[in-house]
């Protein structure tokens, strides 16, 4: 039985849906908004997630941004001077990672379970291709740096129950939130096990003027550069004309 569960869990992980599908009805959840639009005035935003569970249990919400490779560098003192001397590259690091929970996650499941579902920054599968025996220090440094950039928020959000079945939480996104396709996973925890899960997509994208600028900068790079220089030169000229009369 346990073997079967493990196989199912592995299959589910491989397909990006870390849950036994048969249990999906034990939990329903959705976001108030599936698109975070970054416009010129964007200063960060919040998205409300709400849902319901069947029976008793706790809820954990995990928000993962698109994965990228990240290089971690370490400075060492060389001839009295601090320089980057060694580095390690981690593949598939989520560009953003936040969690919210009804209770501290350590009380809800054993570390093995948390690791299997990658719940919590300490349970992310951060692997380096060029790992040495110091990989753990580099991994911790990676998390620390991400936390400093507010991309791995250190505060665990709270999931609150409205009555016994309905729950809601607010996920905060900082102003420097990376763009791309996010996954919001909701886990129903019972007796130290994941009893149900649901993953909802969330798109973070630039819109309007911002998006047009990015599009232009990549598609017509030469023209973009030339216009940038022209605008700068004109601004310089205008500035001096305006100041002539002062």
């Amino acid at each position: 039985m346990r073997g079967l569960a493990l196989v199912l869990a592995t299959l589910a992980l491989a397909s990006g849906w870390p849950t036994p599908a048969a249990r999906a009805q034990a939990l329903v959840a959705d976001l108030t908004n599936h698109l975070i639009a970054i416009t010129t005035g964007f200063t960060g935003t919040e998205v409300v997630l709400f849902g319901a569970i069947e029976g008793e249990g706790d809820v954990i919400v995990v928000v993962r941004g698109p994965e990228t490779a990240i290089e971690v560098r370490r400075k060492e003192r060389t001839l009295g001077v601090w320089l980057n001397r060694s580095d390690m590259t981690f593949a598939d690091v989520p560009s953003f990672y936040a969690i919210a929970s009804t209770r501290p996650i350590e009380q809800l499941a054993r570390p093995e379970v948390l690791t299997r579902y990658r719940i919590g920054v300490d349970h992310l599968a951060l692997e380096a291709a060029d790992a040495t025996d110091q990989v753990e220090q580099f991994r911790q440094a990676l998390i620390r740096n991400k936390q400093r950039e507010s991309l791995f928020p250190t505060a665990v959000g709270t999931v609150t129950f409205v009555g016994s079945r309905l729950f809601r939480t607010t996920v905060a996104f900082p102003a420097n939130v990376p763009t791309g396709s996010y996954q919001v996973s909701v886990f129903l925890m019972r007796n130290g096990q994941v009893q149900g899960a649901q993953t909802t997509p969330l798109l973070v994208s630039q819109l309007g003027l911002s998006a047009d600028i990015v599009d232009f900068a990549y598609r017509r790079a030469l023209l973009y550069g030339l216009i940038a220089v022209f605008v700068a030169a004109m601004a310089g000229w205008l500035g001096s004309v305006a100041f002539r009369r002062v």
Binding site: I38, I70, Q137, S210, V229, A235
Partner: protein, 306 residues
Amino acid sequence: MQVYLPIAEMSVNALVILALGGMVGFLSGLFGVGGGFLMTPLLIFVGVPPAVAVGTQSNQLVGASVSGVIGHWRRGNVDFRMGLVLLLGGLVGSVIGVWLFSILRRSGHIDLVISLLYVILLGVVGGLMLAESTRALLRHRRKTAVRRKLHQHIWLHGLPLKMRFHKSRLYISAVVPFVIGLLGGIAVSILGVGGGFFMVPAMIYLLGMPTAVVPGTSLFQIIFTTAAVTVLQAITNHTVDAMLAVLLLAGGVVGAQFGSRFGANLRGEQVRALLALLVVAVCIKLFVDLVLTPDDVYSITVPPAS
């Protein structure tokens, strides 16, 4: 007032960026240095990714230099002929610099070489300038001003290819400004920072140009180098943020006007002393950064696409 920067993918306070642009623009207008040495770290401090900071501040410098050059030109303080010779040298120098950079990188010691070279160069240039300008200031105070030559003629000036530079009141070999431009170009490619810091003192001390003509002439050639860098960055790295550039520009062109105006009210040795102090301060700051134990010895970055 928060504004989202599309290429940097972050939001900044527009007033902070305007003030930054204005401050650095003031320095460019006053001294004829680009100010990249200040702008890049300040932008990174605000949270702008380093690559975007470097790419965008070069774009802002185009505007600040144009503004500054026009300001100086109205007072008749730009030697276009000298500027062109320096620029020619600069172009050749940046080609050599890129080539040297790749050799140094293969040797694996580039970071150490660059950091130390930079600190030593700034220290020597700043120290010598500070000593000279202090002597000049003291002489002025004692009012024992002896009538001196317009400028010292050194053996370098006697090299072949003599040219007349009216604005600078010089009749010297064109080889000297060409080589200075060339060294500046090499510095730009290797150190990644504008050559203003080496060019300005070299123009004053090696060429013997009058201090008043130096900032405008230096800015004149900075227009072209920064324009070239902007276009190259836009094509190769897509790191020029139009929104950030516009904000920096708005502050920069105004600052450059104030700078060139303020400079006109100062005596040559006063400008030189202020610039020397700035160079020494930057040198000390870089040195301290290198030697002081960092808060976190680890840093993260997106690896370059292979």
